[in-house]
């Protein structure tokens, strides 16, 4: 039985002369919460951009488990929307909601890749289209309830408080029914109260069997959530292991605290 849901081999990304990712290996198992940490500019967001098809990596392979089978599919060369369709959904570090759409519509957009209606369906509104539209509405609302945003359904996304916007990003990604959910610093800019609520939310989603790969700077959050942690610096993986192992790892301490500390 293949339990790996994501497998990344030797991922390398060059921007002109800068090697932002250097032969990175990473894997996530079904149902796990895996954290990806590292100092600013380590290449974490670039890693997300590479596996979701926003950047084309210079080298390396990305495999995602095919839903309901033991095989996996290569994500190499796929467009971002195709990657999402295959089951990888993400949030953005710098919030990218659809500002002039309502909260509900933002989540409904997430349902796009799981539904079909096109021009003719829209114009003639046949039974199939109406049913589909109804199911989009219901699923989206249920997701909003799950992340606790149902009181905002009809607000414009950019009128939401900051913490709520981050949760909406999560809701929108969840609406695509991902096999693996990628969260890029979901707690960034949140106050302690919001962070605690976010932690509860991530635990809840995870308890329902959702696999999660998380980039985060808040170490308390990372330590309490993750099953495994990958640490990177200057585009390279410098450590990997359980939270306890990572906390004691000298290379990690060095990367985070600087050269002269261990002297």
């Amino acid at each position: 039985m293949n339990t790996q849901i994501l497998k990344v081999n030797g991922l390398t990304m060059d921007f002109g002369g800068i090697r932002a990712l250097n032969s990175l290996d990473l894997d996530v198992n079904r149902g796990e919460i895996v954290a990806l940490i590292g100092p600013n500019g380590a290449g974490k967001t670039t890693f997300f951009n590479c596996i979701t098809g926003i950047y084309a990596p210079t080298e390396g392979e990305v495999y995602l488990a095919a839903p309901g089978s033991d095989t996996s599919v290569s994500l190499k060369g796929l467009k971002p929307n195709q990657v999402t369709e295959k089951g990888l959904a993400r949030t953005f570090q710098n919030i990218r909601l659809f500002a002039k759409m309502t909260v509900l519509e933002n989540v409904m957009i997430g349902r796009h890749c799981r539904t079909k209606a096109f021009v003719l369906g829209a114009v003639f509104r046949n039974k199939a289209t109406r049913d589909e539209e109804q199911s989009i509405l219901e699923t989206s609302y249920a997701i909003l309830q799950k992340v606790g945003l149902e009181q905002y359904v009809n607000e414009f996304a950019n009128n939401l408080p900051y913490g709520a916007q981050r949760r909406l990003e999560v809701a929108r990604a969840l609406a695509t029914e991902p096999l693996l959910l990628l969260l890029d610093e979901p707690a960034a800019g949140m106050n302690p109260q919001e962070t605690i609520e976010l932690e509860k939310l991530i635990k809840e989603i995870s308890s329902e069997g959702q696999s999660i790969l998380l980039i985060e700077h808040d170490m308390t959050l990372v330590m309490s959530l993750s099953d495994r942690i990958f640490v990177m610096d200057y585009g390279k993986k410098i450590a990997e292991g359980t939270p306890v192992e990572i906390r004691e790892n000298p290379a990690v301490i060095k990367a985070y605290l600087g050269e002269d500390v261990d002297a």
């Binding site: 929307n81 990218r96 500002a99 519509e105 796009h112 096109f118």
Partner: protein, 401 residues
């Protein structure tokens, strides 16, 4: 305090402008008398005008700052029209009234007025078509008139060579324009904003230049004349009835267009267009196929232009490339921008204002374009979001659990 500071600044700016314009505005060399004249009164005018303009501008800027500060907490503003749109009953009554007026209109007004109204209705449809591309999908298309030309020439040529009638060519013209929309769409899929605008502008000009220069195909600048008016089961109309007939065709056309565009906007595809406009990268990351969505917008927008092109050819019975210049694209774009991007009702009102206003401003004779421009500028300063900003549909859910 603030006022004095602004006044001082305005004074500074005014003096600076007087200084800058001094050589051209004040000094005048008289080559005949061989003297230099100083026109000091011009310096005074420059100073006064600059001073006022600067003050007005800073006033507007201050007001805007205050408005955005206020807006932080408030909900999206809804005016009378929005509240009517949200009230099904009021909306039904209002549409019924408008429809009733539209139906009896030609019986109470002259043939000339009816003709003008038909033109306005045509621009409503053109505006709604371009609104799909620019307003909803956010793709700035400056060559929209090309599709209008495709429709018009489809009818003119098919009628001239094969004697095909209006009703046969109407769908053909729409379909051909939609195909052209896709053809234009492919190369510009990767372009955005200014670049997209420039390429579409070029496309519009290319179509016009082809029509102008490929004489064997399009009869060049002299155009095609004697195009048949729309028939009605083989009946022949007098000029007057046929103008009325054209008017009713357009009334029905507008109703159908509103119906379809409204459904499109409120569908999976419509949401995808708006998401694409809001954030292209996030849109793709949410699983929306950018190509398919953009091409759908281009071709559906072009489709309406094609239909109206056919109507235009049938209405005027004569077309030549001069009817399809960039100015035409600019007018249709102004309708969308003035009315409110993405707002159907806004575009309709925008079309009526922009088409009827110059018509009824004829009293101002040569100043009418100036007045027209002034209104446009004022509009953009005070309501940059257009007259009727688009509001999103709201949903009600039963409290569960």
């Amino acid at each position: 305090m603030l006022l004095i500071k602004e006044l001082k600044k305005a004074l500074g700016v005014a003096l600076w402008f007087v200084f800058l314009t001094f050589p051209i505005m004040v000094i005048k060399v008289d080559p005949i008398e061989r003297i230099i004249r100083y026109r000091w009164e011009n310096a005074a005018y420059v100073a006064i005008v600059t001073f006022t303009v600067y003050l007005v501008m800073s006033f507007i800027k201050l007001r805007k700052l205050r408005v955005t500060a206020d807006k932080k907490e408030s909900k999206p503003s809804r005016n009378v029209i929005h509240s009517i749109l949200n009230n099904k009953k009021q909306l039904a009554v209002l549409s019924f009234m408008i429809l009733a007026i539209a139906l009896v209109f030609p019986h109470f007004f002259s043939v000339y007025q009816t003709n003008v109204m038909t033109t306005a209705l045509m621009y409503v449809v053109l505006g709604l078509g371009l609104n799909i591309v620019v307003g909803m999908a956010g793709l700035l298309d400056l060559g929209f008139v090309a599709f209008y030309a495709v429709g018009a020439y489809s009818y003119a040529l098919l009628n001239y060579h094969f004697g095909l009638g209006f009703w046969v060519v109407l769908p053909i013209g729409g379909a051909l324009a939609a195909i052209f929309g896709i053809i234009l769409g492919f190369p510009v899929l990767r372009l955005r904003g200014d670049y997209l605008a420039i390429v579409t502008l070029g496309f519009g000009e290319i179509i016009r230049l082809i029509l102008e220069n490929w004489g064997e195909f399009s009869q060049g600048p002299s155009g095609i004349s004697n195009i048949s008016r729309p028939g009605f089961f083989g009946m022949d109309f007098s000029l007057e009835t046929s103008i009325m007939y054209m008017y009713y065709i357009m009334v029905i056309g507008v109703i159908v267009t509103i119906f379809i565009v409204n459904r499109l906007q409120d569908s999976r595809l419509g949401r995808a267009w708006i998401a694409l406009r809001e954030d292209e990268i996030a849109c793709q990351a949410m699983g929306i196929d950018k190509r398919k969505t953009k091409l759908a917008a281009f071709s559906l927008g072009a489709f309406w232009a094609g239909l109206i092109g056919v109507v235009f050819a049938a209405k005027t019975t004569f077309i030549n490339p001069a009817s399809f210049t960039f100015l035409e694209s600019a007018i249709i774009l102004s309708i969308v921008v003035l009315g409110g991007m993405g707002s159907i009702i806004g575009v309709i009102i925008g079309a009526f204002i922009l088409i009827l206003m110059p018509e009824y401003l004829r009293a101002l004779s040569e100043y009418r374009m100036l007045a027209f421009g002034g209104v446009m500028v004022a509009m953009m300063v005070f309501r940059p979001q257009g007259m009727i900003a688009n509001i999103r549909r709201t949903y009600k859910f039963e409290k569960q659990k």
